[in-house]
Symmetry: C2
Subunit: 212 residues, 2 copies
């Protein structure tokens, strides 16, 4: 017979296992590609048998879709809020604000979210849900965010009158390419120092456009 406490412990263990499966899957999918990862590989890293995974997830696609759900849930936390931006605007120069946003991600968001972003980026050509999420959360929402920021800066008189939408989109597209290079650098496939230096130079370039 199973006591009530044993039942609770099992459930706790289950939640931990589910989280570990998700974390490890995100990491493997991001680095080896969704099709390049086997259930066996995930289970081995989690420390359980492959068959035990099917207690938590219906199949491999179910893991992927759960990761996508997590991303949608957590992505708003990946950037400073608009209220935070208002505070920054009072005490910081444009360059500082953009740098702050850039490094906010690294500080406030788990590696899992970063990995899911890479999965979305890699699978967008063949997975319609990934394609939809790419446009919504990687292209449009960040562009909207930067547009609002540039408009705020313009209203404060920190920068000159400028096409905020265009500048926001251009900055976001450059950032996208650089984020991928940052990911490559993390895996020894690019020089981290150069990538970070270039990110800073990009911020200076765009802030230069806004001021001149």
């Amino acid at each position: 017979m199973e006591t009530e406490t044993q039942g609770i412990q099992k459930r706790k263990k289950g939640i931990e296992t589910v989280n570990r499966i998700l974390e490890i899957s995100a990491d493997l999918f991001a680095h080896k590609g969704y099709d390049g990862v086997t259930g066996h590989e995930i289970a081995e890293m989690v420390g359980i048998r492959e068959s035990s995974m099917y207690n938590h997830f219906k199949n491999k696609t179910d893991i992927l879709n759960t990761l996508f759900d997590i991303f949608i849930d957590k992505v708003p936390e990946s950037r400073p809020s608009d209220a935070d931006l208002d505070k920054m605007l009072m005490i910081m120069q444009p360059e500082e604000i953009f740098k702050n946003i850039l490094f906010y991600f690294g500080g406030h968001v788990s590696g899992t979210i970063e990995n899911i972003a890479m999965i979305i980026n890699n699978e967008k050509y063949r997975n319609p849900r990934a394609a939809e999420m790419y446009y919504r959360y990687v292209v449009n929402e960040p562009s909207d965010y930067y547009e609002r920021l540039i408009q705020k800066m313009s209203r404060c008189g920190m920068i000159r009158q400028i096409d905020a939408r265009m500048l926001a989109e251009q900055y976001n597209y450059v950032s996208l390419s650089l984020t991928k290079e940052y990911f490559m650098a993390k895996n020894g496939l690019a020089d981290m120092h150069s990538v970070v230096k270039y990110m800073i130079r990009t911020i200076e370039f765009f802030c230069g456009l806004m001021k001149e």
Copy 2:
């Protein structure tokens, strides 16, 4: 006994088959990912048995590496030569030149090269050769090319004095993101009209920076 003519015909057929395998592999790898494609699938589309493919290629990796070799061989043809640029500079505005370069690719280069570019882009996180090619042929060489173009324009007095390198790199990074969206649009995962319109707007934005 095999006559000499029969031998020649077999060899011709062989070359055609090899080319078909490469074309179809490039297409499938680009759209479904390298790991998402099976040898059986390629062979079926080529119209031969999988086992016959192993007469032409040692294995699946061999096909991929041959595609990479082809890319290196053909990539110089994907942009107008520096001599062509000099001719353009005499009769065209900056916008027109950039648009010409943009559409040159579509007109002068086979879909296979475009597909290989996508494969490099997708595999760069796990395939060191793809990573190396990405930096060399997708990031650095095009940036060098645009830098030379902007310097030429500057020397002609068509545009103001400007940081040509920085502008070239920024334009190239935006182009990279947009090229991928163009590829998505071709597969019904994005709106082609919007993507092309945005490419034009990007050219106008950068040319605006160079003139103002």
